[in-house]
């Protein structure tokens, strides 16, 4: 079902993620948030705000950032770092698009959250 191509795992069609939105991939290592920015860029982060663990996948996506729904921290989708005055970092997950399909790193999928 979830076909493997070498070290990458298909997780779904790009079009099933709303533009300026995110979807969750449930994984043994913890939820992964897959974001689709307005310009079409795709990003993946652990679905956990470095502040209080809020689900970033539920936040508002703007440019290459997401605002956490719990306390409005803004996290860079590019680096996983908190922007502005806040300090903290959410791990990035390798992600890519092939033929309209989103793939994420098999290793990241299997890794247990620290």
């Amino acid at each position: 079902m979830n076909a493997r191509t070498s070290d990458w795992v298909e997780v779904g069609a790009l079009d099933s993620i709303p533009v300026r939105g995110a979807r969750v991939v449930k994984a043994p290592g913890g939820d992964i948030a897959v974001f689709r920015a307005a310009d079409g860029a795709i990003f993946a982060l652990r679905d956990k705000c470095p502040h209080k663990g809020g689900p970033l996948s539920q936040g508002i996506v703007h440019s290459h950032g997401v605002t956490c729904p719990l306390h409005n921290w803004v996290i860079s989708l590019e680096t996983g770092e908190a922007l502005g005055a806040d300090k903290g970092c959410t791990p990035r997950i390798p992600v890519k698009i092939e033929n309209g399909t989103v793939l994420i790193s098999a290793a990241a999928l299997a890794t247990l959250a620290a």
Partner: protein, 816 residues
């Protein structure tokens, strides 16, 4: 002593100001008759450009409403052009044959636009830019879209071009000279301006000499000297004005370029004054409001026996095109013996130029950053010696004295005679004295009493600083806070422009209003989404990606990422069937916490996101819908048991609460709205700390509003009294609609009421039946689009992607 007769020909801003000054000095000295060729009252001609661009309405730029004329016993002939002055008999005659006798006469016929003498200049579709009729003609032409050519790249021409562009036309500006506004700007600054104008989608042709206007009966195009033909459905001539002195000339008065006046503003006939753009004083004619208002003051004083004289002084002007800041003051012509200090920052689009002679500033041109304009202008008028600060002068007032001053200190340092409002010639001392004498507390009061900031409004910030200095901490200026860092515009400006420019999507707002980020942020997007939902009901397509998660999934996110679910219980009523359904849902989905809320309903906490549609499905089956406990919208209507059960109840408070909730549910508002209905003044439902509350009394219903019981604690104020339940609902709906239209996103009702004033809300919702009705009707229309249960829609499959993971991997799959 019988009153003298004063007749005024013309009803523009200058005679309007002269009358104000006259009535201040001698309220009963004259019977006043005015002949106005335009069929209307005195309005602020400077503000015609914002009317053309749709940013203001005519009503907003009226200076003297009809009531003012009545109050002062003035006979105003609207739409009467005077065709004859009989200086022997001392009468004037209008084109309709009305005759008025005068003891004193003021000619204030203003000026006429210069018509370029080329073939075709009389064709239909060729207009000038001078009065409201011209604006209406342009707006009408713009309705059908098409192409407009504006001849003239000066102040007026550029404002007309920007206005027509805002109205949706394809606009080209033709300018005879090599660069725009060459009288105010040097070529480099003219180029910056041209770039900014072109960035708004307006085409600019400089060195363009109009050869002919083409067309049979209507204009079809403009032909240039080099043979180019530009197609046009509308041609606007904005190449300058000429004093209207024809009538004076026919009457035998001395006329040169304008009507010649002595320094006391008398014409060659001592009983006749000339005032405004038609007058020529010291060999000069004037077109800016500053000197014209000075003339008005002189005329008023001399009418009552004074000996005032008009001294032409330096003038300042500002380009009124939203988003382009240009300020010029004084004399900036290049002449031998004059020096210049110029600051250019092309990347930031800033240009500043000071023209200096003998260590005194003669003129200033500021482009892109105009905040220091009044400071330079003040030094121009005083002839301040700038040798001491020459090195940092161009950086502005903030850089004088070594360290950067805060703006308050700069204003505090201004002397009393420093001019604050250039349009109306109001100095700092006049403002501070009036605030103290009249006990003024806000900008509107200062505007009303001193006229400062009452014309073009560009000095508003300065005036507010003067108010703050005078009143100290008790004054909180309504400085415009930008919505967020994506824009410099405040909430009110954005809303006004959404309406004015008919912007109907978030990308349209961001594009048209020059958003600084590509797709906004978590602050502005939800606000814009709300404004568009509210302003374009049924037309705007809700952007769920711009909604906060709670409104996107119609439940409240909790700290662990689960959600809470609150079904509606109308007026706090429930039943065995509903309670049984809730109990079943709790068991079926293992919902960990069930709690009774402060708003008289039941909260199910800890629901997993993927379970939400199924939970709602079960609740829907028992007849329950979303309680919108997550919404910036109507939450609950709390009630007591009223006459049904209570021995003190005066009305059916429960029934009324249910009716209100059934009428109002689903509406989106700037922030949450909580209501309550109490059946008697004992107030068991605590209606007096709600956003809207009703207290039932024997004679009907007291409607309260603007309470708070959260971060702030505030008792409600009484909005008004209603006799029937229907009247209660109409008033509450009108109130909520007014709040929906005026409230800033996330601003609760009590904060909105504090900002706009309780009295203005009462005046609209209670005292003005027509406005109340119109608000009510707008609310009803809006409700037709929102009263569908969002839960049922999602049970039926809408936004399914929100509730299911993109993919799920078990331990085995991932480790494969």
């Amino acid at each position: 002593m019988s009153k003298q007769k004063l007749v005024i020909i013309g009803n523009g801003m200058a005679p309007g100001r002269a009358l104000e000054k006259l009535f201040d000095a001698a309220p009963d000295a004259f019977d006043v008759t005015i002949f106005n060729a335009e069929p209307r009252v005195n309005y602020d001609r400077i503000m015609l450009s914002p009317v053309l661009s749709g940013e203001k309405t005519f009503e907003q730029i009226v200076i003297h409403g009809d009531g003012w004329y009545i109050q002062h016993g003035i006979v105003l002939y609207k739409g009467h052009k005077v065709v004859m002055i009989d200086r022997e008999a001392k009468t004037v005659t209008s084109e309709h044959g009305d005759v008025a006798a005068y003891d004193k006469l003021i000619i204030a016929t203003g000026s006429s636009p210069f018509i370029v003498p080329v073939p075709g200049n009389q064709l239909a579709g060729v207009v000038t830019y001078r009065d409201l009729d011209d604006v209406h003609a342009m707006m009408l032409a713009a309705k059908t879209g098409g192409k407009a050519v504006v001849i003239g790249g000066g102040l007026l021409g550029l404002e007309a071009a920007a206005g027509l562009k805002a109205q949706g036309m394809d606009v080209t500006v033709l300018h005879l000279m090599p660069t725009l506004m060459e009288r105010q700007l040097d070529p480099a600054a003219g180029y910056l301006l041209q770039r900014a104008v072109e960035a708004r989608g307006i085409k600019v042709f400089c060195k363009a000499n109009t050869h002919a206007i083409t067309g049979e009966s209507r204009v079809t195009g403009v032909k240039l000297d080099d043979g180019t033909v530009l197609p046009a459905d509308l041609v606007v001539m904005a190449v300058g004005i000429r004093p209207s002195a024809g009538l004076a000339k026919e009457s035998g008065l001395t006329v040169n370029r304008g009507i010649v006046v002595t320094p006391d503003m008398r014409t060659s006939d001592p009983d006749i004054f000339a005032l405004g753009e038609c007058a020529e004083a010291s060999g000069q004619v004037f077109g800016l409001v500053g000197p014209l208002y000075d003339m008005a003051g002189v005329v008023a004083q001399n009418l009552v026996g004074g000996r005032a004289e008009f001294q032409p002084s330096a003038t300042a002007t500002k380009l009124k095109v939203t988003g382009i800041d240009l300020y010029s003051a004084g004399d900036f012509a290049d002449m031998p013996g004059r020096e210049e200090i110029v600051l250019r920052d092309p990347t930031r689009g800033i240009y500043k130029r000071l023209v200096i002679e003998n260590n005194r500033i003669l003129g200033a041109v500021l482009y892109g950053e105009t905040g220091d304009g009044p400071w330079f202008f003040d030094m121009i008028k005083r002839g301040t010696d700038i040798s001491e600060m020459r090195e940092t002068l161009i950086f502005g007032q903030g850089y004088q004295g070594g360290s950067q001053l805060d703006p308050m200190a700069a204003v505090a340092a201004l002397p009393d005679e420093a001019e604050i409002c250039g349009c109306n010639g109001v100095c700092k001392g006049k403002i501070t004295a009036t605030i103290t004498a009249k006990g003024l507390t806000d900008l509107d009061g200062v505007r009303a009493h001193t006229k400062a900031s009452a014309s073009c409004g560009s000095c508003t910030g300065l005036v507010e600083q003067v108010i703050k200095l005078t009143l100290g901490g008790s004054y909180n200026p309504a400085a415009v806070q930008p919505m967020c860092t994506c824009t410099d515009l405040g909430h009110d400006d954005v809303r006004r422009l959404i309406k004015a420019k008919e912007l109907k999507s978030i990308p349209a707002v961001m594009q048209e209003l020059g958003w600084k980020t590509s797709c906004g942020c978590a602050k502005c997007r939800p606000a814009l989404n709300y404004y568009l939902v509210c302003d374009w009901p049924g037309e705007y397509e809700d952007d769920s990606q711009s909604r906060y998660i709670n409104e996107r999934v119609h439940a409240n996110i909790q700290k662990n990422g689960t959600y809470s679910v609150v079904p509606r219980m109308w007026g706090g009523l429930t039943s065995a069937k509903e309670l049984r359904a809730i109990a079943d849902v709790v068991e079926k989905f293992a919902i960990p916490t069930v709690k009774v809320t402060g708003g008289q309903r039941i909260d199910l906490l800890g629901v997993k996101k993927e379970d939400l549609p199924a939970v709602w499905g079960d609740l829907n089956k028992a007849g329950m819908i979303s309680g919108a406990a997550y919404a910036k919208g109507l939450r609950t209507v709390k009630t007591c048991v009223g006459t049904d059960w209570c021995r003190f109840g005066t009305q059916d408070s429960t029934g009324l609460g249910v009716k209100i909730e059934k009428f109002m549910w689903g509406s989106w508002t700037p922030a949450k709205v909580k209501m309550a209905v109490s059946g008697c003044p004992r107030n068991c439902s605590e209606a007096t700390c709600k956003d809207v509350g009703v207290i039932c009394v024997d004679s009907g219903y007291e409607i309260h509003f603007a309470g708070a019981a959260g971060l702030d604690l505030l008792a409600t104020q009484v909005l008004g009294h209603a006799k029937t339940e229907d009247e209660v609902i109409e008033i509450i709906a009108a109130l909520v609609q007014l709040y929906r239209e005026q409230g800033r996103y996330l601003e609760r009702i009590y904060k909105w009421a504090k900002r706009v004033g309780t009295e203005s809300i009462k005046a609209t919702v209670i005292e003005n039946r027509e406005k109340r009705r119109a608000l009510f009707e707008r609310f009803v229309i809006s409700q037709t689009y929102v009263q569908t249960d969002p839960w049922a829609a999602r049970v039926a499959g809408r936004d399914a992607h929100e509730f299911a993971p993109l993919a799920a991997f078990g331990m085995a799959q991932a480790a494969e």
